[in-house]
């Protein structure tokens, strides 16, 4: 049967029509074999444009459609739906991209018009060989895995659990809470961070729909959207959660003090058996094997002796759980930039240089000083405090990107110093103040009124080498003040380094484990930076919070909720529809060489052991075609991208 093809050339307003003579392209298309209708329209994607196609399909009995317009990434779905509505299988549509690949990149109108004609000819020749296809449907397991118990992960877990869906929340530390639990106040409202966080933490701990696995890590992931199997290692706490009442007697009796380098940011101490903070969820403490006297020297057992419920279990071992989930939300957060990488800032050498997280703990009422801002000696109140912005951020030597939160937390720090040490002078050394969200700029103005000295200049060095008597015994902050065009040396007692946010040290390994990717800076890559910041290129794997890029609490909460909404939408549908554009193996031709297994970037091919033949797992196949090219016996074919289709398209392009 001869095909009846309709061709529709779009002007895209002036986007295409300015560079391409669309009328002559449409006239040319009408001369191509099989084309019985050829039209052009100002906006094919608009309602009238789509109706044009539908009417022709119904009235002229078209069997194939070609739309010459923008990239199929934007409107292929629009035109496929138009075809469907008029009864044509949507895979019998082909698009010729005469905008991104032609009008926008070709200056000469004649050349652009010729190129558009070639692209249309290729599409017309190809569409003849296209086959009707039907999408696949796979069921979705209702449980969701959330990795990371910071604020983004907490929010995602609560949204889903409140909607009635089961959630497994995995956190690597003994308690959920993440970085937000370490903070004293939040900008710009100066809410007590713990006070607004702990109710959410409690809700997670008590929620009937949430399985909380703290002190646990994801070991491996297999499966695909709707049907993942996740192996989780639950590390031995040496404390039986069901028996422990969280009375803390074990922590009081334990004789070993350990510097708390995680929750305490290195500024406080904890015991060898510990729960990181008073409001920890769960309350069950863990024994830090490395520092426990019993584990190291074979005697002590103070915790066991005093535990009123007999909850200590020395023989406990790591446990492994296999959990089936339909979707995964990664909310693994960030790591603070290590300022030792900028040796001229003296961190680690000059004792009164602090990191921002150290300063948060210093300000916290639950911190080592009970919220008193003091020098490293634990007693002296500083009279002059310098806050250095952009440490490790906006600096091509370290990270070129802006860490988003540092300006605002630096302003918050300045406020806290003014509040607690009214006599103290505060100097903020900044490049630009970035305060672009609701209430942020107002907060900056508040600090200007409070008398903070704002010095616009990147700090060159923090020195302990005095040049004048006034500088003796001080830390001297050296910077170029770019507003007055002079070098300045500002003697202070305390320096706070506003360190930037970096990806977690194991972000790349995590990305590999979950089949997603990291960008140049190491943060997880979203499917689309503008229009799909929550999804990844792997179906069923979503990202939320600072693992996607530096962001503040409100954004992390918004992303956590957004990821949960996306997942809830998928679960409520009960199944996912998968593009039928995928590889299939002709078993008769397959020789079982397994070359396709090694090249498939999505691990979508398995070897059927009973008959030594490759098999494509439809739900995992992304239709990239790598296996098709790699298959020597040509046993793998590719629906919607068959050899016949591609050869026809090339012939059309080359007019041969």
């Amino acid at each position: 049967m001869a095909e009846k093809i309709g061709v529709y050339v779009c002007h895209c307003g002036s986007n295409i029509a300015d560079a391409v003579d669309v009328e002559s392209v449409a006239e040319f298309a009408a001369t191509l074999p099989g084309v019985i209708v050829s039209r052009h329209d100002r906006f094919m994607c608009a309602q009238p444009g789509q109706e044009l196609i539908e009417t022709d399909l119904r009235e002229q009995g078209l069997t194939r459609v070609v739309v010459a317009a923008c990239t199929p990434q934007l409107h292929e779905l629009t035109f496929r739906r138009a075809c469907s509505r008029a009864g044509l299988n949507p895979y019998l549509l082909e698009m010729a991209n005469i905008r991104e690949q032609c009008s926008w990149v070709t200056l000469d109108r004649t050349a652009a018009t010729e190129k558009a004609k070639a692209l249309v000819a290729g599409a017309v020749r190809r569409v003849t060989y296209q086959q009707p296809l039907e999408p696949h449907h796979v069921p979705i397991h209702p449980r969701t895995l959330v990795v990371g118990g910071g604020i983004a992960g907490i929010q995602a877990a609560l949204e889903l659990a409140d909607a009635g869906y089961p959630v497994t929340l995995v956190e690597r530390e003994p308690s959920i809470g993440g970085h937000m639990a370490q903070l004293d106040k939040t900008f710009p409202t100066l809410d007590c961070s713990a006070c607004i966080l702990t109710p959410k933490m409690m809700a997670v701990g008590q929620h009937p729909n949430i399985q909380l696995l703290s002190y646990s890590e994801v070991e491996s992931v297999s499966g695909y959207v709707g049907n993942f199997v996740v192996k989780i290692r639950s590390k031995a706490r040496y404390v039986v959660a069901e028996k422990c009442t969280g009375c803390e007697i074990c922590q009081q009796k334990c004789p070993v003090w350990v510097e708390d380098r995680v929750f305490g940011a290195g500024l406080g101490f904890r015991k060898a058996i510990y729960s990181p903070f008073a409001q920890a969820v769960p309350r069950t403490p863990v024994i830090d094997r490395e520092n426990c006297v019993y584990f190291q020297r074979g005697k002590c057992k103070a915790c066991e002796i005093f535990c009123p419920t007999g909850a200590i279990a020395w023989e406990q071992e790591d446990e492994f759980l296999d959990i089936e989930v339909g979707n995964i939300i990664l909310a693994t957060g960030y790591r603070l930039f290590d300022p030792r990488r900028i040796p001229q800032y003296g961190y680690g050498r000059l004792e009164n240089v602090f990191t921002s997280l150290e300063f948060e703990r210093l300000c916290s009422a639950a911190g080592p000083t009970g919220g008193r801002i003091v020098l490293r000696d634990g007693m002296t109140q500083p009279q002059r405090v310098a806050i250095v912005h952009c440490v490790g951020s906006r600096d091509r030597n370290y990270n070129a990107y802006c860490s988003d939160v540092c300006c605002m937390y630096s302003l918050k720090f300045a406020h806290l110093v003014h509040e607690r040490l009214p006599e103290a002078e505060v100097y903020n050394f900044y490049i630009d103040i970035r305060s672009s969200r609701k209430g942020y700029e107002e907060f900056y103005h508040r600090l200007l009124d409070e008398g903070t000295h704002f010095i616009r200049g990147k700090v060159a060095r923090i020195s302990d080498v005095a040049e004048t008597p006034e500088e003796e015994g001080c830390l001297i902050v050296e910077a170029e003040d770019t507003l007055i065009g002079r070098q300045r040396r500002v003697p202070v007692d305390m320096v706070v380094l506003s360190c930037g946010l970096e990806p977690q040290a194991d972000a790349r390994e995590m990305a590999r484990r979950f089949g997603i990717s990291c960008g140049q800076n190491g943060f997880f890559i979203e499917r689309h930076p503008k229009l799909d910041p929550i999804a990844t290129t792997t179906d069923g794997v979503f990202i939320a919070g600072a693992c996607q890029g530096p962001q503040d609490i409100q954004s992390a909460v918004a992303q956590g909720a957004a990821a949960a909404a996306r997942v809830a939408g998928l679960i409520s549908r009960g199944e996912v529809e998968l593009e039928p554009v995928l590889a299939t193996v002709d078993e008769a031709a397959c020789n079982g060489c397994a070359e396709c297994l090694s090249v498939c970037p999505y691990s979508a091919i398995e070897l059927l052991e009973d008959r030594d033949k490759a098999h494509v797992i439809a739900a995992l196949c992304k239709g990239c075609g790598v296996c098709v090219a790699a298959c020597l016996p040509k046993a793998i074919s590719f629906s919607h991208y068959s050899d016949a289709q591609l050869v026809a398209q090339v012939k059309g392009l080359l007019n041969v």
């Binding site: 970085h179 995680v262 940011a265 040796p343 003296g346 634990g378 080498v465 360190c499």
Partner: protein, 322 residues
């Protein structure tokens, strides 16, 4: 290993002690340094500021004169090192100015094949090629008892694509430690000595020199050890003028790192050029250089102990985080 050696003008005159000690130490350590035949001045700072093409051509002539069998040029002078590297990188990049320099070489019957040479600082070669292990194995009289301030100056490690960190270099520290000296925390170790400012604008140089001398003195250094003839000259020859200008009383000997190596290798101080410096090093050497190993520091500071109200200080590595 054999290197082409570019001594630079200073070594023939103000830094003859550097030249003497390099010769002796290189011999002992098996470093084959072959002086480039008929080399000329690198142009120092002035020429590059006034005429780029001529300045590069002047340096390029030295690169073109390097023996065809050798692929590395070593300079003991930090300024020569920077200039040689700058021209080498220009020629290797092969852009307009580099091509003009090539034309200038060709006019003199010379040529340089881009990519043929790498330019090294002597400190880099000694620490990274000869290696600390080799040097330690030759040490006969460790520098025990001496407290030294390692001084790199501003050019040895800048611009920061060289062999050590541009802000907090460590190679000279490690070298001196392995010789047995106690290295003080000299935070200005990569700051400027004033360079030619001592001639052009003396007061600027004096205040820069004073900072260095003050910091080294406050840190308890017995002497400053440097890897640059300009730095040594400024700190040594202008020290009395600094004292006169500021009413200070610095008496800080400044020696070259090759002299320090030579002393530890048991070479004669006189042959190493000790005594040619203006602020004499010999009183300090006689008084402080004990030859006795210091008592080892008590190992394994208990990091778990709480000390009153004191807050813990950050560890050597790994930022504390959640």
């Amino acid at each position: 290993m054999t290197y082409a050696f570019f001594p630079g003008c200073s070594l023939a005159h103000t830094a003859s002690a550097y030249a003497d000690s390099i010769r002796l130490v290189a011999e002992r350590l098996g470093l084959d340094l072959r002086e480039i035949d008929d080399w000329n001045c690198c142009g120092a700072t002035a020429y590059f500021a006034s005429d780029l093409l001529a300045a590069h051509a002047l340096v390029a002539r030295n690169l073109a004169l390097v023996d065809g069998d050798l692929d590395q040029v070593v300079s003991p002078c930090s300024l020569c090192y920077v200039n040689l590297r700058r021209t080498q990188q220009l020629l290797d990049a092969g852009e307009t100015l580099g091509n003009q320099v090539q034309d200038a070489l060709a006019a003199g019957g010379l040529g340089y094949r881009p990519g043929r040479l790498s330019v090294r600082h002597l400190l880099d070669v000694v620490v990274n090629d000869t290696g600390l292990d080799r040097i330690v194995s030759e040490v006969v009289r460790p520098l025990y008892g001496l407290r030294v301030a390692p001084y790199y100056g501003c050019l040895t490690v800048r611009p920061g694509t060289g062999f050590d960190d541009p802000e907090q270099p460590a190679s000279l520290d490690q070298l001196l430690q392995s010789l047995g000296a106690e290295v003080v925390d000299f935070s200005l170790k990569a700051d400027c000595c004033g360079g030619h400012m001592s001639v052009v604008s003396a007061e600027v140089a004096y205040s820069l020199l004073r900072r260095l001398l003050q910091n080294a003195t406050e840190q308890g250094a017995d002497l400053i050890v440097t890897a640059c003839p300009m730095c040594q000259l400024n700190l040594d020859a202008y020290q009395h003028r600094v004292n006169r200008h500021f009413g200070t009383d610095f008496r800080m000997p400044v020696i070259f790192f090759t002299q320090a190596i030579g002393l530890a290798l048991g070479l004669s101080a006189e042959a190493l050029g000790i005594g040619k410096e203006i602020v004499p090093a010999s009183p300090v050497l006689e008084e402080r250089w004990s030859g006795e190993a210091p008592a080892p520091e008590r190992a394994g500071r208990a990091r778990h102990r709480r000390r009153g109200t004191r807050l813990p200080t950050p560890g050597a590595e790994g930022v504390s985080d959640g």
